[in-house]
């Protein structure tokens, strides 16, 4: 890979007015002019659906693809807790500046100031837009919008719709998208898996897809391509993500030249239902909002097998309240997760496996009443009971951290464009705003900011400088070649006819990534991962078994095509974690910690975004984007 200097293209000027000033300099197209352009959007979750609707409103012709049967099925639908916005409705001193600062600090000073400020600035518009679409956010008795608190902050700025905020926001974006489908400005391709990007003269001009119903491989051309394909937590096999969430779109883009930033920055969410057996197919999140009223504790004594109710108050260790008196149970996710691991490693874990801690609502129920708790968290309590067969109104929940979100993703500049011209990346699929740790309720905010308010402007600006001539160019050599290439890959996988089920290989990969590139990492483990992942790759290509035909619906083939890319990504994650000889946010390198077991950041040597270039013959190539902090002072994070 050729060396080049990464340019984030942040505009000059005052932080507070930068985005508004910059927007005025961007090129604009009238709806008549926009109508000449074709835009491909891969993914119709919050980010993709909101971008598709908005770009269609501006006159562009949108071709949107998803492997789901409907946009409403995207993983975004599962988000529970809420969405942040600096509205300051509670008059508790919130402001754009404060949301900006909390997000930068929450990310442990590994994100770009300009992007994060813009996100905080746009947060209020998102709520306005969603309310206008009919999103039924929770309200107070007076009829105004209600808020609650999330981890890592001391103000109440999270808007919510019971425990189904993602559902309601996605249905809002889906309705906006449906309105444009009705207006014939959006053509939606359901059950289509994007398997490759096509570039022409170095610019992204189309994609290759597989129709999941009949296996047909098709080329689609367009003037610009936007990836809104979500996160890759499923590289760990078990995660809170929907079963089909995957990295393929991003990975194919990476192999075609898009840099992959901070791949090892993954978020382990502290409150999930613990793993119960070997058949477990996925993990279930219990929203962070529960930490508003739930208290985390373990027995003080090691290997204590008594029932929770038999352990008297004075023999309980409310360790978060003890270690972090200022934030208590509401410390950020990375901190809460690491501390849970620590007490369990120390033998204080609870439940059959000893790999769980309690989340206890007794005090809140006593003080605020059962109805209050039911109103706020009813569906979460029901879900917990359904899965575990235990009643959380009566006995404390058992929880343990699980992989939840990936801060890493395709490197993008201020315009959300990757290093491939004409290829944009929005929502969880890019790396942009959360640094080394994402604060709760800010992924929905980022996805919608990217989709409704940022990419429509920057994509239009890009297109205004391009001639609209890629509506129908699939007969061009680049497309024909890419189709052949994809067909060859599939043929090869179908012909392995080995003995292993795809999930078996995936589980094995997941175990390595969880053990070595999970909640705590060290040099030896990472080197070990780098040497063992290629063996899994070999196993996959020699011994995986795909029954049936690739010309029908074939769910095993779909999984195999995703797993092959996860395996390659896993290796890159290990390289990234090994390169970063510091601890920051969710990236905890055991060698780099303070005496109090807090993450020890190293701003002198690692104040950069690690953006990796693909190298087909070996070690990936590292490009560094130095992060500049002109408006906030770098500090050691403290939640004490």
């Amino acid at each position: 890979m050729k060396d080049f200097i990464l340019n984030a293209k942040s505009p000059n000027g005052d932080l507070h007015t930068k985005w508004e000033d910059y927007k005025k300099t961007l090129n604009h197209l009238s709806p008549e002019e926009a109508n000449k352009y074709k835009v491909i959007i891969i993914g119709t979750g919050l980010a993709g659906a909101s971008a598709a609707a908005t770009l269609a409103e501006k006159g562009f012709n949108i071709h949107a693809f998803s492997y789901h049967e409907s946009p409403r099925r995207a993983h975004s639908i599962a988000a529970q807790g809420g969405i942040n916005a600096a509205k300051n409705y509670k008059k508790d001193g919130d402001s754009v500046m404060r949301l900006f600062y909390d997000t930068i600090k929450g990310g442990d000073f590994r994100s770009r100031e300009d992007n994060v400020y813009r996100l905080a600035e746009l947060s209020a518009n998102i709520i306005d837009q969603c309310v206008a679409q009919g999103v039924p956010f929770a309200r107070e008795y007076g009829g105004l919008l209600d808020n609650r608190s999330f981890g890592g902050v001391q103000v109440s700025r999270t808007f919510y719709a019971r425990g189904q905020t993602g559902q309601q926001l996605l249905l809002g974006a889906y309705s906006a998208l449906s309105r444009q489908t009705n207006a014939k400005k959006v053509k939606f391709y359901p059950r289509h898996d994007m398997l490759d990007i096509v570039t022409v003269d170095g610019k992204a001009k189309g994609v290759i897809t597989r129709n999941l119903l009949d296996g047909k491989i098709e080329a689609h051309s367009a003037d610009v391509v936007i990836l809104a394909t979500g996160g890759y937590s499923n590289v760990y096999y078990l995660s809170t993500n929907a079963m089909a969430s995957n990295v393929t779109a991003n990975w194919r883009a990476h192999k075609k030249g898009a840099l992959f930033a901070n791949p090892s920055f993954t978020q382990i969410h502290p409150t999930c239902i613990p793993v119960k057996n070997d058949f477990q197919s996925k993990l279930t999140l219990m929203s962070e909002s529960l930490r508003n009223d739930g208290r985390v504790w373990v027995p003080k004594k090691k290997n204590d097998t008594r029932k929770a109710s038999d352990i008297p108050e004075e023999e309980r260790d409310y360790y978060l309240e003890r270690i972090y008196p200022a934030f208590g149970n509401l410390v950020p996710r990375d901190v809460a997760s690491r501390r849970a691991k620590e007490v369990c490693d120390n033998g204080q874990g609870v439940g059959n496996t000893g790999i769980a801690v309690y989340l206890d609502f007794k005090k809140a129920i006593q003080e605020k009443g059962k109805d209050y708790i039911k109103e706020k968290y009813g569906n979460l309590f029901d879900m917990y009971q359904n899965i575990t067969d235990e009643n959380p109104y009566k006995t404390p929940m058992k929880i343990y951290p699980a992989v939840h979100y990936t801060m890493g993703g395709l490197w993008v500049d201020y315009n959300l464009m990757t290093t491939i011209p004409g290829l944009f990346s929005i929502g969880e699929s890019n790396f942009s705003d959360h640094g080394a740790n994402r604060l709760g309720a800010s992924a929905l905010m980022q996805g919608l900011a990217d989709g409704y308010f940022i990419s429509p402007h920057t994509v239009m600006d890009y297109l205004a400088k391009e001639k609209p001539n890629f509506s129908n160019k699939t007969e061009q050599k680049e497309f024909l070649d890419a189709v052949k290439e994809t067909e060859k890959d599939i043929e090869q996988i179908m012909s392995i006819k080995g003995e292993l089920v795809v999930d078996e290989v995936h589980r094995e990969l997941g175990k390595i990534v969880w053990d070595k590139v999970g909640m705590a990492r060290n040099k030896e483990g990472l080197e070990n991962a780098i040497s063992s992942i290629p063996k899994i790759k070999e196993k996959f290509w020699k011994n995986v078994s795909i029954p049936g035909s690739d010309k029908d619906m074939n769910q095993e083939l779909e999984k195999a095509l995703r797993l092959k890319d996860f395996i390659e990504l896993a290796e890159l994650m290990a390289y990234d974690a090994l390169d970063r000889n510091e601890s920051c946010g969710g990236h905890f390198r055991e060698e780099y910690q303070t005496k109090e077991n807090e993450a020890e950041r190293n701003d002198t040597d690692f104040k950069y975004v690690a953006a990796w270039g693909y190298n087909k013959d070996g070690k990936p190539h590292l490009f560094k984007e130095d992060l500049k902090y002109n408006n906030v002072k770098l500090k050691t994070r403290s939640y004490k």
Binding site: A53, R73, K87, Q129, A132, P136, R139, A161, Q164, T284
Partner: protein
């Protein structure tokens, strides 16, 4: 526990399907129903057989992907629960369990237990939205909304679009699904302006898609995993009559 499964196997919408028998032994009662199917599929693949196709994704009861008939009931025996949230402890040792796809004219079988529910998307895209462009919205707290209305709108908006209501109905009516969206938006001031047009278009699309008429049996609501109430249907009917009446009035 041991179970005896009978599963509808159909290669595609172009071929005929039939029931196949499978026996699974030593099933852990604490696994989910779909994990049980994962185990069956694992076994089938090991034996070089085609695994059973079924739709699923979130496995948290919210995406609406999963859904098929278990012993004649959409999503199975447990009230207010999607298939993915159902656990094997709801069954007994040596139970016979029959799995079939949702059956309705407007939901074609794709393969095995997977059906095509895109007709639902077409109902929504006909008018299930508020016409507001990005950037045109006013301040969110400008219009206070009575908490009870907002809460009721939320309950209607909680529909996951799974299609169980259609499968439960002897007429294959999509009335519960459609009425949930009509109600959600009719209950909010934001949806007020397009109320008449919305109900007219959505009902027309529902009919055009081949869904049957609603005869108020209540089967839909009883089987709905999100407990979408029949009051939604009553509201749709009211809105529809109002819209028709005002159409007549306007024509005069």
């Amino acid at each position: 526990m041991n179970i005896n499964l009978k599963i509808w196997r159909q290669k595609s919408n172009k071929t005929e399907g039939k029931l196949h028998k499978y026996r699974l032994e030593n099933v852990d009662p604490n696994i989910s129903f779909l994990e049980m199917l994962d185990i069956l599929n694992n076994k089938l693949i090991k034996e070089q057989q085609d695994p059973v196709a079924f739709d699923h994704d979130c496995r948290e009861g919210i995406c609406g992907s999963c859904g098929f008939m278990i012993n004649g009931r959409p999503h199975g025996p447990q009230k207010a629960t999607t298939v993915c949230q159902l656990h094997m402890r709801s069954f007994n040792d040596e139970d016979d369990i029959l799995l079939e796809p949702f059956r309705a004219k407007s939901f074609g079988v794709i393969k095995d237990l997977s059906v095509d529910r895109q007709s639902f998307d077409r109902i929504i895209s006909s008018a299930g939205f508020v016409s507001v462009n990005t950037g045109e919205a006013g301040e969110a707290n400008q219009i206070p909304i009575d908490k009870s209305n907002a809460d009721e709108a939320f309950l209607s908006a909680a529909c996951i679009g799974c299609g169980a209501c259609v499968a439960a109905c002897k007429n294959s009516s999509a009335m519960l699904f459609t009425s949930a969206k009509v109600s959600h938006l009719a209950l909010l001031p934001q949806g007020e302006k397009e109320k008449k047009e919305r109900v007219n278009k959505m009902v027309a699309t529902m009919d055009a898609e081949g869904f049957g008429a609603c005869t108020n049996t209540g089967a839909c609501s009883a089987e709905c995993p999100k407990e979408i109430g029949q009051t939604n249907i009553a509201r749709l009917n009211r809105e529809f009559i109002k819209a028709q009446a005002s159409n007549l009035f306007e024509k005069k």
